[in-house]
Symmetry: C2
Subunit: 700 residues, 2 copies
């Protein structure tokens, strides 16, 4: 049994701070539980000592309650919460919901009070929702343990969509919109301050919950990245579509932002990467989340591919849907030969294309619509999903009855396909079609957007990889709390298996000239100093040195520029390296995310990274397949693959470097704040790190 079961299915519940006034926060939950007809034991508790509250026998203390209490709601003023919680612990309560606000969300003193609540719960093996939670709903059993005033007017209906949200108001907005649209819900929980139970754990619960087939979740912040990842993967493994919203921008720690990679990570890029890796689809609005959840609930599965077929009685709407679909990454492959032949028989004057415009002719063919749709899912058809744009026929239920029955039959005959009807429709018609698994939308674009979301989720889940087990290699102790010099960084990366140039730190011009002779001209000379992170900006790099004289002059120049620009800087010497020509400059980086740990970044070099934010992130460690996907997530990666007649670069070498970097990051996660390899030059054969920055924590 899951420790959260008593949250939704308690045999007994106490409401501490129960009020006789059904409008007050302590009165509403009692009223909603009574109105819902809660079947278990229900104990109002109020220290006023009232004998009866809202018609029920009341108790001055939870400890006066005669029987066991599985679930308690605390709705007393903030000063009384701790005492109430201690009584819950003493009583053996299994799950507590704390509705009271005024804890960590307010100030440090509140945070300390909140921590004491956590300690009490941990000590007693009791689970806690909140504090500052809006409550829990289980529409199936009409269990409404909330003070949301939405319940004043209407009751959410039972369905298969579970909702776990941090913000209570976000939750009631979502189930409010769902209820007005007639969309049912299995469970709703608002986790509030998440002192104990967080959204991730609720997702974990919903992944197991047999009444929940689709999961919606909304986060403002995540404290435990691993728990969230595990919960999202569990939902994917359970075959339950999961749509998630993440709202608000978080700050990137100052240390992390010391690297270029860190400044590019932002909040959204990392969450986007983690959600996608774990097979969850991110929504940007409540309505989009509900559209997609409802679509998944109706169809019962995700589409098996991204290929769609469109039949339409209107060329214009067909083109609009095709435009929308290709913008959203869906494909519109041509009709199969068989389908085209059948369609030519059914509608001789229509052009057998995709979108298939039936023209008005379809109305004069008996069962025309259903026959067209059936033709489009012949055994050789590629379409995972078929759309039918039927204008407003659904508003005339009697005229539509025949088509409706045939559509349902087609749907039943083809359980592996998805069918979407776009039309204006009587609610009863919509209900019958959706009960049979045929999705109905009024707006063509929203229909396409929902299918595109479902198809994307399906693709993410096909690609779902577990992160490899943490890399076994023992970490090297790194210097603490500073940016390593380029040379130090390259030695470490080279040791980790990332190619670097045969280069040498020299103290004098003569030494540099000798080194240059050894490696062959032309060479590059760069200043080496732990105090100078941005060498180029002070003139500390001179490239393309063709002979000994040039090297000598360059060494003198960079020493004197460094002395002028950074008078107190420690100077370790100059680095002499062979000059690399050609290849594509890329950036590889590690962002040490405070929530999700080491994240690998890949981007093109030059201005593209910052100007166009053309970078992608992935959780470390990477295997070659995921590293390749990371590369391909960047638009500029086209440059690596014979762009405009150019050469094919060695993507395999790039992929290997990304994997090695990711493993190094995992092994040294405790010591790092970030890594930039900028540039990593991808050549037609091989690739090489030309510059690197490793930044470490003050203490491991």
């Amino acid at each position: 049994m899951h420790s959260l079961d008593p949250l939704f299915f308690p045999a007994s519940i106490a409401l501490i701070g129960a009020s006789s006034d059904p409008e007050r926060i302590g009165g509403r939950p009692l009223r909603f539980l009574l109105e819902g007809g809660f079947g278990g034991a229900l104990y109002p508790v109020n220290r006023s000592g009232a004998a009866e509250i809202q018609g029920l026998k009341a108790y001055a203390s939870l400890l006066d309650v005669p029987g066991p209490v599985e679930h308690a709601i605390i709705a007393v003023p903030v000063a009384g919460v701790e005492t109430a919680l201690l009584e819950c612990a003493q009583k053996g309560v299994r799950v507590v919901q704390v509705f009271t606000a005024g804890f960590a969300e307010v100030d440090a003193a509140g945070a300390r009070m909140q921590q004491r609540l956590v300690d009490i719960c941990r000590g007693a093996g009791m689970r806690m929702i909140g504090p500052n939670s809006l409550g829990t709903l289980n529409p199936k059993t009409r269990f409404f343990a909330t003070f949301s005033t939405f319940l004043n007017g209407m009751q959410p209906r039972a369905g298969v969509i579970g909702l776990a949200t941090q913000s209570g108001a976000f939750g009631s907005a979502t189930y409010g919109m769902a209820t007005l649209r007639g969309i049912g819900l299995s469970r709703v929980v608002a986790t509030g301050n998440e002192a104990d139970v967080d959204v991730a754990e609720c997702i974990d619960y919903l992944a197991d919950d047999p009444d929940t087939r689709v999961i919606c979740a909304a986060l403002e912040a995540c404290k435990d990245g691993e728990r969230l990842r595990a919960a999202l993967r569990k939902a994917a493994d359970a075959g339950k579509p999961l749509i998630i919203m993440k709202i608000g921008q978080t700050e990137i720690g100052a240390a992390a932002a010391a690297t270029h990679t860190g400044s590019l990570a932002g909040n959204d890029a990392v969450y986007d990467a983690v959600f996608a890796e774990c097979g969850a689809l991110r929504a940007q609005s409540v309505e989009d989340m509900l559209d997609l959840a409802h679509y998944c609930a109706v169809t019962g599965a995700l589409p098996h591919n991204e290929a769609i077929g469109i039949m339409t009685g209107s060329g214009g709407i067909g083109i609009l849907m095709a435009d929308n679909a290709s913008q959203l990454g869906l494909a519109l492959p041509a009709l199969s030969e068989g389908a085209a032949a059948t369609l030519r028989e059914i509608l001789p004057f229509a052009v057998p294309a995709n979108p298939f415009d039936t023209t008005a002719q379809v109305t004069s063919v008996p069962d025309g619509v259903a026959r067209v749709i059936e033709a489009m899912v012949d055994p050789h058809s590629a379409y995972g999903t078929v759309f039918a744009y039927l204008a407003h026929v659904g508003l005339s239920p009697q005229r539509f009855a025949g088509t409706e029955a045939r559509l349902i039959a087609v749907r039943q005959a083809h359980p592996g396909r998805q069918f979407v009807v776009v039309m204006l429709s009587d609610p009863a018609v919509t209900q019958r079609l959706e009960d049979a698994g045929v999705a109905v939308f009024a707006d063509p674009t929203r229909a396409v957007r929902a299918v595109a979301g479902a198809a994307r989720m399906a693709r993410l889940r096909r690609q779902l990889h577990r992160n490899a087990a943490p890399v076994a290699a023992a970490p090297t102790p790194l210097p603490q709390g500073r940016a390593l010099t380029e040379h130090e960084a390259k030695l470490l990366l080279s040791g980790a298996g990332i190619p670097v140039l045969p280069e040498k730190v020299c103290s004098t011009a003569a030494e540099a000239i000798e080194a240059a002779h050894g490696m062959g001209f032309p060479v590059v000379v760069k200043i080496v100093s732990p105090d100078i992170a941005h060498k180029t900006e002070i003139g500390g790099v001179v490239v393309n040195l063709a002979d000994a004289d040039a090297v000598g002059a360059a060494v003198d120049a960079v020493f004197s520029r460094a002395a002028a620009a950074a008078p107190g800087a420690r100077i370790d010497g100059v680095l002499v390296a062979p000059m690399v020509r050609g290849g594509v400059e890329t950036i590889l980086g590690i962002h040490m995310d405070p929530v999700f740990g080491p994240m690998v970044m890949f981007g093109l070099g030059g201005t593209a990274v910052e100007l166009y934010k053309d970078v992608a992130f992935a959780s470390a460690p990477l295997d070659p397949q995921r590293a390749l996907a990371l590369v391909d997530a960047v638009r500029g990666a086209t440059l690596l693959r014979g762009w405009r007649g150019g050469p094919q670069y060695d993507v395999a070498a790039l992929v290997q470097a990304l994997c090695r970097l990711s493993e190094f990051a995992v092994a040294h996660a405790g010591q790092l704040t970030g890594i930039d390899i900028n540039p990593f030059v991808v050549q037609t054969s091989g690739g090489v790190c030309l510059d690197a920055l490793i930044s470490t924590r003050a203490s491991a």
Copy 2:
């Protein structure tokens, strides 16, 4: 009187091809007109000679009708249309709607038939909608001259939104969705094949129409760009918001695509530019179009700026709305000092920020919501629009009554601001608020999207510029039907006022060396041939030539490479030019759009243009202000303005070059197919064209 008045307000109407069967295409319009209670003279015409059709006296020919006929509908088979139209001409009909399909949309023979219809109308001074049109609605007078089966079930209600659409099905989808949402319409017209009247002319009509306050339009293709531009500007001048959809991709003519600019123009970039220049907002879905149109209809004006204030009882929803708003280009400036002070008085524990989270405390303050909103629009507040997120209070009309009255009062007291309530709401509550000018949305993101659209349209209209009068300069006759050589192109552009390098065409190495001495080393050598458009790809360009020997070798090399790569090519010599270093490479281009004429393109050089499609278009000619806006529409333009500590480049020189190029294009519009200046190097002082391609038409 507008020549389309009889389309919507006829005193008399004949239906040619009228049917007694109210389900047939010839029967439905008659039935809908009768059901609507059309007050004028209504004449069914059917050559069968039936005495009566649907209860009305019928005529075998239009010419038998006793009185005058202003408006005729033709719904006869395709073979009979021409005869029917001739009768209309003879009868003195003012406007004809041809519902019959089977003309230009089918084949060339159909197109010829369609042209004959146009000729008949022109000869008779008669206007024609269609052929292949779905009809016209005027809900105000309950005039439903259509065969759309949507009218079987419901009748669109009267309102202030006018709809002009090419596709009839698109139109009925739109007014169908509007009607189901309770949104009223002033006029609806579906122009079909647009043999005579097109969407642009209908927009022109609606811009004058006193019952229409907001215009929606949907295009599949536009044949007359100038008419569309003029109509869009007229709507803007009339202060009527205009939301437009353009669906489907058109082909770019092969000639235009001979330039880089042409291949980047595509369909959408040019339409986007034209719509924006004319103050129209482009929507991507029917629902978005309706949301924005309805928002404009409710508020009665566009917001005066892009600054929004948000009050919310839920931190989570406030953050979501702020996220959405900043993604969509709205600004969330801080509260004014006065507003902050007042809010501190009203709600001492809430933090006076924007979004302003009232916390649950607001419910315990009398008139809390209205007072907060009133405080947010104090005289010093920047907010053109204030949002209030009120959860689901609108579902409890009685509880909400006080707030509702105060909201309406606040709205009336501040006519220069816009007010948007986001909540779940009883339809009657929504109606009362919207009647008073307060917009109501259920989904927070849709609310923000509508306001962002309205604010963007307002900005476009503030920036609205007329295109300057066509440039007076007499055009130079250009060589016909080919790509000019680089040297020819540069001479022309130089003559037009665009800086080029002092460069010289030389026939021999000796001549080239002499030229190089004259301009100073280093120099560049390029092959000159009217048959070699892509010089770099055949090795026909050698840069950075430091001395006479290098120049001599380079001349020999490019001659022999050209001979090897393009054996039959005519060789005019080599171009010697000074080597330019530094600066930012940009691309300036002219796309000769078949519909909209010369369009100027601007983009960054390098890979950004193609990889990230970071280009923008504007109609030629440009004045400096519009040229600057074109530059700033490109993300990469940041590189010109001291990016990451780099220099400020001479944007004024770039702007001047764009203006001169645009004027050259207008003057030579009849001769050009396209121009690429690639690169135009913008320097810290000045700018210069380094390479240019001008492609001309076969005959002017």
